[in-house]
Subunit: 388 residues, 2 copies
């Protein structure tokens, strides 16, 4: 397999957009192409994540329209990937594999989504279609409910009083909101306190409003290339050195809600391919759709022992200055969560971090970064390992 | 690149199903695995086409659930592909490319869809989301409307009186319905006459009801493998020797509705990779969503000169006993069109034809077959070339 690099990245501001999904993607893609010193007509394929374009804008079959929007050639295939919130990471992983294998030399990949236009009620209901329609949804469960159960099980399993755990969860939100203030593209750029979280509305016990990420609009794109041919084209190429995508499926295959089997299998694969372990990682963007989700993910990725993730947040280990800075972008919690674009935005942040281009939120000396994206209620996890 | 084979194929009966999308896929997948003398746990990845699962069954993120339904391992990635009606062919093409490149040795790919449950009104409206939401749909256009325009332009361009063209279009439907009577898995198994077509309701001038394929439920699956490792496992492996996937995008990039640029580019790529030309093809399953769609596709695939496709049907060139039998399965017109599964069912038919397992609808001595699937109003075409 060949070495694979990311030549350029682009991302819209996340939040509430008046631009269409196609316009947002074009903005992100043009920035990624510009950073790559290439044009859309040079791209040999387009891989895009999008989840609910039909409910958002009455649009399925979006990939060919995105290819046309940015001016790609008829000869270039354009393909949509959908694995719920992991869609863009899955699209990027397939691009990486196909460039590594020599099928393509240059692929543009990313995601676009416009969830905010749906409003909270429809967005919550349509997101819930990512859970199993026959075996789960008749119970009335939505994603906040699933992660509420994760928090309860975590507290019970590790003997942590729920009030104590809620402090750590709140500290996670405080950290990510602080990081978000340093990210000009973040949806929320406002500091909060532990009291903000604990004083907010109850959503799905014990999750309160500020334990939950927002519904956001946004797009992000990356240009993936064969390193041998293209690494001299840019000053700071970033290498993709490991990938993993694994599949738990429905919740009935998940015996312990605090230990996501898909994540443990995916990151094991990605680390092995990269020839590294968690101690080698300098910065991580992981899937903090809820505060408890960040805590369990930080354990599965190997940064902390199982049951130690909450205490690690309290110690500041995951802050910008900590031992392993997590979600310097603000994460899904503060940067926002346009589901089909989320993974591409995580890659955007890690690339910028590894290049040293993150200004006030820069993780000093970052050389190796990990991307972690969850799709559905634990059904898919996709991981990428990047290094400068 | 390595040689790639299809080890086994499976397909549900197409029509109106009481089974869920997951149950249908499992039925098709189990047959494909059984033919391959392999089990789900041997599969290294699952690639599936599905278009409107959210409107049909409130299900996005279907791939991991299908993987679980058939008993695949957590380590195996499961990914959904969506390119409108070309979704399954695109999924299969990516599986072929990744096996050819050595990324995987064994992949199960296919599609599942349950369009009939939506009813004609909702199905028509949701299918129309495959056209461009900003540039096309505000005109009120649906797919019958687009292909009605194709028929008018075809008649005008080639100086064929519309009544004459309608006879050829009707003859296409008669042929495909006749083939469908010979296919136990076809949605419609009833002979019709030219008068049936010309006496049916007007849908979008000049297309009448029997010029249009039905809304169907169904699933199909294929097991794709590295030839070197697996070709001795089955008696009749079928080789995938060429693929193509190209992208016109929205209709505004299509100057002549009778000449689909994405198809001409895709089949050129597939033939070149296979080292053959249209004269080498013995049997073809192509995208006859409407009768006129079969006529223009038969020309773009190189079987007839442009403008000669209608006359070729009249001569019987595309019948089971003709020079180039097209849609021996009954095609989308009679076999049915469960959109996300359609391409996999086309592959199923070509594999069965090349193995000589098609009974009364067998194309004698077929050695080389072509699959052709259209996604959206000309936005994507995906082609595969198979040989025994």
């Amino acid at each position: 397999m060949r070495e694979v690099i990311i030549l350029g990245v682009g991302m819209t501001k996340f939040g509430i957009s008046k631009l269409s999904m196609k316009e947002m993607f074009a903005e992100a893609a043009m920035d990624a192409l510009s950073e790559s010193n290439l044009e859309a007509k040079n791209m040999e394929a387009l891989f895009v994540g999008n989840v609910l374009g039909d409910f958002e804008e009455g649009q399925i079959n979006i990939a060919p329209f995105l290819a046309a929007e940015i001016g790609m050639r008829v000869e270039a295939p354009a393909t949509r990937f959908e694995n719920a919130c992991a869609s863009a990471t899955v699209a990027i992983r397939h691009a990486v594999l196909m460039v590594a294998a020599g099928i393509y030399d240059l692929v543009i990949a990313g995601g676009t989504e416009r969830t905010a236009i749906m409003g909270t009620s429809l967005a919550t209901k349509t997101f819930a279609m990512g859970s199993h329609s026959e075996y789960e949804r008749f119970t009335g469960i939505t994603f906040p409910g699933v992660f509420g159960m994760v928090a309860h099980q975590y507290a019970a399993k590790y003997g942590i009083p729920l009030d104590r755990l809620k402090q750590s969860m709140a500290a996670t939100a405080v950290k990510n909101h602080r990081n978000g203030t340093l990210n000009p593209l973040a949806h929320f750029r406002k500091e909060i306190t532990v009291d903000t979280v604990l004083g907010s509305a109850m959503i799905a016990h014990p999750l309160q409003l500020f334990d939950c990420c927002p519904f956001s609009d946004g797009a992000a794109a990356v240009v993936i290339a064969d390193a041998a041919k293209y690494k001299d084209r840019v000053a700071k190429p970033v290498f993709v050195v490991g990938t993993g995508q694994c599949t738990a499926g429905p919740l009935y295959r998940q015996r312990d809600l605090t230990r996501m089997t898909a994540r443990e299998a995916a990151i094991k694969h990605a680390y092995k391919e990269a020839g590294i372990g968690p101690a080698d990682v300098d910065v991580c963007e992981l899937h903090d759709c809820f505060t408890i989700a960040e805590i369990v993910a930080s354990e599965a990725l190997g940064f902390f022992e199982f049951g130690e993730g909450a205490a690690a947040v309290d110690r500041g280990d995951t802050s910008l200055e900590g031992r392993i800075p997590i979600n310097p972008s603000g994460g899904l919690k503060a940067k926002g969560h346009p589901i089909g674009a989320t993974g591409a935005a995580q890659v955007y942040e890690i690339v910028k971090q590894l290049r040293g281009e993150c200004g006030e939120r820069q993780v000093k000396g970052a050389r190796v970064g990990v991307v972690d994206t969850l799709g559905g209620d634990f059904s898919t996890v996709c991981n990428l390992v990047l290094r400068r």
